[in-house]
């Protein structure tokens, strides 16, 4: 594995700096997408456990509206 990483690093440093920048940005983007998918999977699994995954959008929106008003009432009581 370390040898593969060394080889990959050699290939990357052989690129010019603008190509390296594009590559690093792409790696960061893919890492972000992967992390976002993992978070979404975790959240969806919890919602499924709670029987909420199949809620219709209108129900979710209604719940979000209620939460919004509850938080506003607690943050701005006066």
């Amino acid at each position: 594995m370390l040898a593969q990483i060394d080889e990959l690093a050699e290939r990357i440093v052989s690129l010019d700096s603008s190509e390296q920048e594009i590559l690093l940005n792409r790696v960061a983007e893919l890492n972000f997408q992967r992390g976002l998918k993992a978070l979404s999977d975790k959240y969806r699994a919890r919602l499924a456990q709670e029987g909420k995954l199949d809620q219709k959008a209108d129900e979710v929106l209604a719940e979000l509206r209620r939460i919004r008003e509850d938080i506003a009432a607690s943050d701005y009581q006066n």
Partner: protein, 142 residues
């Protein structure tokens, strides 16, 4: 005015529909996946609403992800100015929506992306516009 270069606020419903992968709103998923191309402010009210929906661990994971784009995603824990909140309540907003509007005005953000079709529709001459996630996506890709 374009969201390709200006700060936006994503309403809580965009974050939640995106993370749920709500079938009725596929553009929310795409918009969250495009965070590396957006400039996003996340004000306190939105943060608290996300906290109310996500577990501590999920929230921590979300922050960890957002920190990868710390120059593009700006979280703000400051309360909205109560005078601005009152102003929007006087204009007819419900208290919660008034807080969001006050955050937008204070942060000088000119666009909120929301799937609430009636969001602040009762208020004339808002200092910001409301886009759906599909409209925002079109603008981002144009």
């Amino acid at each position: 005015m374009t969201i390709r270069t200006e700060w936006v606020v994503l309403d809580t419903n965009v974050w939640i529909f995106g993370l749920r992968r709500q079938p009725e709103y596929p553009a929310c998923v795409k918009l969250l996946s495009s965070l590396n191309r957006l400039w996003v402010k996340v004000p306190r009210q939105i943060l608290r609403e996300l906290q109310a929906n996500l577990s501590d661990e999920e929230m921590h994971e979300l922050f960890r992800l957002l920190s990868r784009y710390s120059e593009r995603v700006d979280t703000q824990w400051d309360k909205a100015d109560p005078l601005l909140v009152k102003k929007y309540q006087r204009l007819g907003c419900r208290p919660g929506d008034a807080v969001i509007a006050a955050h937008l005005e204070a942060l000088e953000v000119k666009t909120i992306v929301s799937e609430n079709r009636h969001f602040l529709s009762e208020v004339q001459e808002l200092p910001f516009r409301v886009l759906s996630s599909s409209e925002a996506l079109s603008e981002l890709m144009s």
